[in-house]
Amino acid sequence: MLDVRGLTVRYGDLVAVDDLDLTADDGEVLCILGPSGCGKSTLLRAIAGLVLPDTGTVSLDDDVLDGLRPDQRRVGLMFQDHALFPHRTVADNVGFGPRMRGNPRAEIAERVREALTLVDLTGTEDRPVTALSGGEQQRVALARAIAARPRLLMLDEPLGSLDRALRDRLLTELPELLRQLGTTVLYVTHDQDEALALADRVAVMRQGRLEQVDTPDGLWRGPANAFVARFLGLEHLFAVEIADGVAATPLGEVPVDAPDGPAHLVLLLDALRLADEVRPRRADEIELDGEVVGRRFAGDHLRVRVRTRCGPELTVPVWRGRAPAIGEPITLALDPRATRLLPPDETEDETEDGPQEESQAASASGQSPHPQ
């Protein structure tokens, strides 16, 4: 089990990782999701021992790693852009870890074969890594990390440099491969699709801190704050005032179970739909009349942009067969149960992240925003 407590890494005045706590269970795939520059790579480097933390403790299976050199930690790190040794062959790259640990030649060869089999690259042993394609290099990098038999495998944006088709393919292969390994995995990415596809749990990171740690489903159902909601791609977010158990939104009144005051209301993915004769609006849903102002093709459905009569523009998914034309009047149904109350926005500015707001965030996210 990986246990990170109170970890802080400063680069001069910049706090890259800020008093961060994190645990990952044995065999768990934990994704660290955050925008570039949020400190996620630094977190991995600190766990690997490549960066010295200013404060904090990292322990792995009850061994405290603090003060150990990177080569003493037995953790694996697969780098962004792979960092393969360009002057060595595939086998030399993959066998590097076992060789550094002083394994006999036969053992090294065995582990190389094993790791290459796992990533489906047998037969490439003697090729120079510079002659491989991007996808092959990515697999060699993974094999190299695996062959060292790390107690913890960390992957830093492993699919970042690959083209989309290759990424999608590896995204379907990777979960199976990681499960086969059974190692605890820390997977860093800025891509929510990747995180949601791979992770047992996702930790959303922002400016050196974890905003929320939850299962993918839990994230979608209950983003902890406006930042997480926006980062997941939930675009409908309104600043609201709560009075007497009702949040007044531009779309209408939504019943909530929260004390009076300012807050944010986010519409989850399934909050909005087209209300028509096939599925008319239910009594508990809010009716929104509007006009279609834009359509974007998104594969099996269209994302239709609607200017509501009450003001805000909303995007709603509509199946292709029922797509309305631009300019057509349209009626939407908003399900109040698919909305969540979030603590008031910290205005995206980290300097205002005070302890007071933090406690507010904690209490607000624990509350149900609507009567059960």
Binding site: A48, G49, P70, D71, F79, H87, F96, M100, T130
Partner: protein
């Protein structure tokens, strides 16, 4: 029809093939210059060496080569070059790491500063080390201060140690720039990856960085070896008569023994060694460019562990002690007189000739130096500029030939050039015996390769579409050169001029052969002053060295402001 042909030719622009005739026209001056002042003198050396009495006499050559003195000289030359190179690498590699991979305040300034020694005149460096390693040095005052009067007096003048340290001083920048340049491009995560996979710091360096740096290290090794192998001024002044390299021995054979055949055979030997190492170097260079590199934005990191900070401090101390101390002590010695600090030595330089060993007032040497250097700069710019233009406009094979041919004088030792001038240009068809013109010609010959090296990359980098655009807008080829090429090349020309001037003003190896007593240059004057006993002569030599150092440093600082090209990078 003619119209179309004309348009095509113009659109192709001067950088495209302008036709062999145009290229040939551009090459007339460079070829004449090189032929007359390089090929002809060198051929004379070869002929004099092989046919001392006018007929081919390999027996005489063998006789010279089997002479135990010559053998000892040859052995010493190789030995000191090898040890100097090893010492320079040992000191320079950590320095390269510090300056390319560690981030600390003042790093960029320091990186520029460490290249200063490389471009200082050899005579200045030799003077500086005479001052630093002599008995009057502040080092000894320091020792005395620490250990009391009983402290041993350190005097390393006329020792091999002095030569080795001075060579390390000179070539430190070569290692730092050449190896550091590549090191800064190596992805630092490669070593990180190795560390995470279980490699210790040393293993990570040996297994990952060292193999990737090997081409640069080999390249630096070759060039430092070449420089120390052909080192002349430093060995002549610091080593004393007992420690002669081939260069010094050529000088001695010419000026003291008046044994021209011996000098010729030695020069021949030197030529063979130099050409061999140049070929090896060329091979290595070609491999360097083939090295696949991973550019990375954050190659340098601040020192974080105690060990790293200690390593950084140790290297900074070394740079201060090796590179800064000699120059500071040189300035200090130039101001030190029997009556405390003062400008006595400087005043003496500008007074009458009475108490000096020169036949003319010393300040004339300063004037001579600057006049000759300006003349040499003009010649080098014309020859080098034409050659570089020809190399860019000519066909691939012509370009490569011009590029290569102009590099040969760079490798050939200055002493060979000077000696060649002395024996070849003193009789018809080219009789310049005793003419002061020989001095700027020799200096220009040595400066020309630097001009070409500075101009070529810039000329090559001009986007030919700029010329095409100018052509479609109605500019004639001549106008294109004036409106497009010249403004872009202008800065590079200034840099080349500054470089040529710095090289010419400090040139010693060739100048000492051709400068007559009535036309001394600063380096020659310093050498003569150092050769005489007496505190006054020594003090004046220090003063003149300081002036020369300031003149050279000024020229180079001006170049640095222009920021074109990389000084000391090979």
């Amino acid at each position: 029809m003619t119209d179309t042909a004309g348009t095509q030719r113009v659109a192709a622009g001067p950088a495209q093939r302008r036709g062999p005739a145009a290229t040939a026209a551009l090459l007339v001056v460079p070829v004449l210059f090189l032929g007359l002042f390089f090929v002809y003198p060198v051929a004379t050396i070869v002929l004099t060496g092989l046919r001392p009495e006018g007929v081919l006499d390999l027996g005489a050559v063998w006789q010279v080569l089997s002479d135990p003195v010559v053998r000892r000289v040859a052995w010493f030359t190789v030995w000191q070059a090898t040890v100097s190179t090893a010492l320079t690498l040992a000191l320079g590699l950590p320095g390269a790491y510090v300056l390319s991979r560690m981030r600390f305040r003042g790093r960029n300034v320091l990186r520029a500063a460490v290249t200063v020694p490389f471009v200082l005149p050899t005579v200045v460096v030799a003077s500086a080390f005479l001052a630093l390693l002599g008995p009057q040095s502040p080092v000894n005052s320091l020792l005395e201060g620490v250990f009391g009067a009983a402290a041993p007096t350190l005097d390393l003048r006329r020792t091999v140690t002095a030569i080795l340290i001075a060579h390390a001083f000179f070539n430190y920048a070569v290692v730092v720039r050449t190896v550091g340049g590549l090191w800064a491009l190596l992805d630092p995560r490669l070593e990180d990856a190795a560390r995470v996979l279980g490699a210790s710091r040393w293993q990570a360096f040996r297994e990952v960085s060292l193999p990737l740096l090997r081409p640069a290290i080999a390249s630096a090794t070759a060039i430092v070896f070449l420089f120390t192998f052909t080192s002349f001024g430093v060995v002549l002044i610091l080593g004393g008569p007992a420690r002669a390299t081939i260069e010094v021995e050529i000088h001695r054979a010419t000026t003291q023994l008046l044994d021209l055949p011996l000098a010729s055979v030695l020069a021949l030997l030197q030529l063979i060694a130099v050409v061999t190492s140049l070929v090896v170097y060329g091979r290595l260079q070609r491999r360097t460019t083939q090295q696949p590199l991973v550019a990375s934005e954050r190659a340098s990191r601040p020192a974080r562990t105690r060990g790293e900070r200690r390593f950084l401090r140790a290297n900074l101390a070394l740079m201060a002690g090796l590179l800064a101390a000699p120059l500071l002590v040189l300035a200090e010695r130039s101001l030190s007189t029997a009556q405390g600090y003062g400008l006595t030595h400087y005043r003496a330089l500008f007074s009458a000739t009475a108490d000096t060993i020169l036949t003319v007032p010393p300040w004339l040497a300063i004037r001579n130096s600057i006049t000759f250097a300006v003349a040499a700069t003009v010649i080098a710019l014309i020859v080098g500029g034409l050659a570089a233009t020809a190399a860019v406009t000519g066909h691939g094979r012509v370009a490569r030939f011009v590029d290569g041919a102009l590099m040969v004088p760079l490798g050939t030792s200055a002493v060979t050039v000077g000696f060649g001038f002395l024996i070849a240009l003193n009789r018809p068809p080219v009789d310049l015996r005793g003419s002061p013109l020989l001095i700027p010609l020799a200096q220009a010959l040595i400066a020309t390769p630097f001009v070409v090296r500075t101009l070529l990359p810039v000329l090559r980098s001009i986007d030919h579409r700029l010329r095409e655009a100018a052509a479609t807008l109605g500019a004639t080829p001549r106008r294109i050169w004036r409106e497009v090429d010249l403004p872009i090349v202008g800065r590079a020309l200034l840099v080349a001029a500054g470089f040529s001037f710095a090289i010419a003003v400090g040139e010693f190896g060739a100048t000492v052969f051709v400068a007559r007593a009535q036309f001394p240059t600063m380096p020659v004057a310093i050498f003569r002053m150092l050769g005489r006993p007496g505190a006054a002569n020594f003090g004046q030599a220090m003063a003149m060295s300081t002036i020369l150092m300031v003149v050279t440093a000024t020229a180079l600082l001006l170049i640095d402001r222009l920021r074109v090209g990389q000084v000391g990078r090979f």
